[in-house]
Structures are given as C-alpha cells and as structure tokens.
Symmetry: C2
Subunit: 287 residues, 2 copies
C-alpha cells in the first residue's frame, strides 16, 4: 500500500539467493524481492463504514509450533522476520499486544524513521498507535515498552481496574475505559468487540495489527474478529514445556462454529524461513 | 525412488487446481503434479555401511502448532496428507510409532495393495516392517493396530519388561529385547541408539520412517538421530490445552548443542495445505 515492490521474475532454478533477498513462491510466478518489499503492498482493506478495524495477526513460530522460547518471542525470528514485522506495522493504524506479552519482555511497537517518513507522506501518523488492552492495569510501561510517548500509546482498560491505578497510568498513555457489553459472549479479559469498536469510532483505526500474545490471539480467533494471520515459520526446533513455551494460539479447543478455514494468500521463502500469509475469514477479498 | 513423477511445468499463474492436484512451489520452477507423485521420488539414501538407518519423521500439524486434537492425530490432516503418508511408507523399510501413539487411537502402518505391488517389483518386502519401541509392554495391538501380522510387526522391548508380558506379546509380533547402553546419554525410555542399530544390523532397515508421537520425535531430535522432517501444515486453527493437544515435539527445551538447523528441501501446496520437507542434519545430501 505504501509502495509497490517490483519483483524480478525468474524462470530458472534459483540455487542461492543473495543475502537479504526473498523468494516469493506463491502466487506464481516465483519472483525474487528485497526483504523490505515483502508485504510492502499488503493491501489491507480500509472500510469507513465497517464497525470494527480490519484485524491482522502477525506471529512467529518454530517448526515445532513454539511461539515463545524461555517465555519470550523475540529470539525466534530472524532479522528477516523483524523486517517484515516493521513492514506490517508501517501499514497499520494501530499495533496491539496483550499485557502478558508486555510483561514478558522489553519491546517496541514503533517503526523506524524511514518508514515513519513514508507514512507521513501517505497522510498517516508517523507512528502507528500502540494499543494495550488490560484487565488488571498491571503494565510495566516504563520498564518494558521502548520508544513510546503518551500521545502514541492507548490503554484499553477494563472498567474493573481501580481508579487510582488508572490515574497512575494516565500520565503515561491515553486511556479508554471499555465498559462490559452484556450482550457479548462472556469472556475473561476485556470486551474485545467493544474495544475494537472504540478503536474504530474514536481513533479512526481501519487496520489493526495484533502481535500476540497467544491468549489475545485465541480470543480474537474464537470470536471471529481476526481477518488474517501472518505466520513466520522459523527453521528451528526448540522443544520445551509450558509455561516457558507456548503455541501461537493458547486456550480452549475451538468449537466447530468458532473454527476458521484459513486460506493461503502468499508464501515466501528466505533461507529456510517460510513467510506465510493466511486469510482467516471467507469474506476476505484481496482486491 | 520407486517411480518418477513427471511434473507439468507451468509458466503462468494457477488460479485453481483440479481436485487432488498439488502445486510444487520449491524448488522452482513451479509444477503441478498428482497427489500420488508428491514425494514419490524422495531419494532417501541407502548406505550399507552406516551404523543406523536413515531416519525420517513425518508429522502433521495445524498452523497453530497442534499435532493432536482430542488426543488424536488422525483427524488433522486431509486426504492429501494421508496419500503422502502412504507414499513415504512405500519408500521405507520400516515404519515406527511410539507406544503412546498406538494407545491413543486405532491406526495402521501398512501401504495399500498397489504400493505393495510396486515395492515387490523393486525388491522390497510388500509391506514395511511395523516397529514399536516400548518400555512397559503395554501395547493394545489387537485393539488398535489394524492390518498387521506377526511377521511384519517388530516390538523393540526394554529389558526391564517382565518376561511373562513379553511372552504374551510374542504370539503377536517379533520381539527384540534392547539392552541398555551404559555409554549412551541416560534417557527415559528405550535406548534409541541400540534400537536403531538393531534395526539396521538384524532387519536390514536402511530407511526408517517415524510417525510420532511427539515424545519419540523429541528423543530422536535431541539425540541427533533424525535426518529429515516431513511436516504437513494443515490449514486449521485448533486451539486446545494439554494433555489433549500436543505439538509435534514434546519434551524439555533443546539445548544449543542439541539444536538442529533445519533446511527447506521442498515446498508443495494443495488447497492451502502446505507440505514441507526439511533436512535436519547439515550432512544431508539429496544426491
């Protein structure tokens, strides 16, 4: 969306890719492209009259299904995966993580300066809005969230959080209290339908990128709120047991009416790392 | 190895594949092939003087990393995945499963008659040897293992299993008692190095296909005994909690010296199901 890659078509077997280049495998024909061009034209739909943002989950997993190693996710993906993460962020109005993910490790939800400039040129805010839903208010913002400012950080707070705790957070971030919605399916945690509606109505978020963790992902998928999944399959076998390791989706079995029918949209390969894009909802239209 | 597919090369975008056809994505160029031809020429090395068989693991997982659903694996893969499983079996001298996998569900380790005929034509036994390692001897063979005969079933039994239990099993299968190897890394379960050496020396098993479960896979990978991993990534998101769900590798975190560096060998796509082949050991040579 922000700029269009010009993939070079290749007709013959590629035996070795130059460093940092990626092979698009699907859709055909295969093409080589620079790391920065993978997903650079993701074409997420922006629908003004939609009630909620278009929700895109981005995760990395080892081939044995582990999305965290030693409780953390950041070490699993390669430099390529981190490039892709920034490319996806550059096309989102907001980037959401669960509060458990913030508590687990130091992280940033920003894009680097060159992508911020491109966003500005396209009429977007230079940085996507960082969004963290919380039911407890226990957020180590100053310790673990790097490079944020109160203007670019939004906390979606459950109405059950004590007022003094909210007051403490309000010097660090914008705060929206999300009231429970009695008509929604009862779920532990914040009312995600209301939270997404708030993002759309009050913050003009058309495209929301979610970067985990596994419990937030599970809730979004279970409730049919996730439109796409970007999955980097890192060429690693990690092993490990809970709670130190988790899969990309953690929670009860999805019942048949909650199940998605993921469809492969694109497949890229970079030095044995597979970059997979799935549409999770049949109504997905890539045009 | 048994017969060579003749993939049709395609130069243009394939928008819809006929039922049962598969798209080879990597290596390039992309090609369409029949389901039966995927992995039909897997070219597993047969090295007479090797001390152990060439070990190939075949597993299916949902995109959220679940290899079992409700304790069972059989419902996750598609008909395509089952075709591939049989194709891989047709090129193996023996097919191994863990005893927990046998206890979990009814299954067969055989190939259908047409593949048995092809095997015979290539000088192989019509059926691969079914192999089950066990430390307890608790094997519901008559209940859960379909289509076996005492000649085509081998139980690798720990020397700790009581004699009367072994006597009961001996009417149903061939039995090899695997003595503990004091020089090997102490592991719970059977001594896998000795077990593999026994398969090679006494049963002429050059190529061993392992179909799980996750604990057997973990032990093989941890000990550096697994040469390849075939992973079908089913387009499903299942959720679920242990012990009802498991990943393809279950056990302690792999330490850095136990870690593999998986390399993508081939990628195939069939109706959003990805068929991935990884070499797990750097010495792998596909020639």
């Amino acid at each position: 969306m922000l700029h269009c890659p010009s993939p070079r078509r290749v007709g013959t077997l590629i035996t070795a890719l130059p460093d940092g280049e990626v092979l698009r495998l699907f859709p055909e024909p295969a093409a080589r492209l620079a790391a920065e061009d993978v997903y650079a034209d993701a074409s997420f739909p922006r629908v003004d009259k939609a009630a909620k943002p278009y929700v895109v989950i981005n995760m990395v997993s080892s081939i044995d299904g582990k999305a965290t190693s030693g409780g953390k996710a950041s070490s699993i993906g390669s430099a390529m995966d981190h490039t892709i993460m920034r490319t996806l962020r550059s096309q989102a109005d907001a980037v959401m993580i669960g509060s458990g993910t913030l508590r687990a490790e130091k992280l940033t939800l920003t894009v680097p300066e060159n992508l911020a400039r491109t966003r500005r040129a396209h009429g977007l805010n230079p940085q996507p809005l960082a969004v963290i839903p919380t039911t407890s208010g226990d957020l180590p913002l100053q310790e673990n969230l790097l490079g944020y400012s109160p203007e670019t950080l939004l906390i979606l707070a459950s109405s059950e959080i004590p007022k003094e705790r909210l007051a403490n957070l309000s010097s660090l971030a914008r705060i929206e209290v999300v009231a429970p919605n009695e008509t929604a399916m009862p779920t532990p945690g914040i009312d995600l339908i209301r939270a997404l509606e708030t993002l759309k109505e009050r913050y003009a978020v058309d495209v929301l990128l979610v970067e985990g963790g596994p419990y937030l992902n599970h809730a979004l998928v279970r409730m049919g709120l996730a439109d796409e999944l970007f999955l980097t399959l890192a060429p690693k076998i990690l092993g490990g047991k809970r709670p130190e390791v988790a899969t990309i989706i953690e929670g009860p079995p999805l019942l048949s009416h909650q199940e998605t029918k993921p469809e492969v949209v694109t497949v890229h390969l970079s030095e044995s790392e597979l970059l997979l894009r799935y549409a999770l909802r049949p109504r997905y239209d890539s045009s």
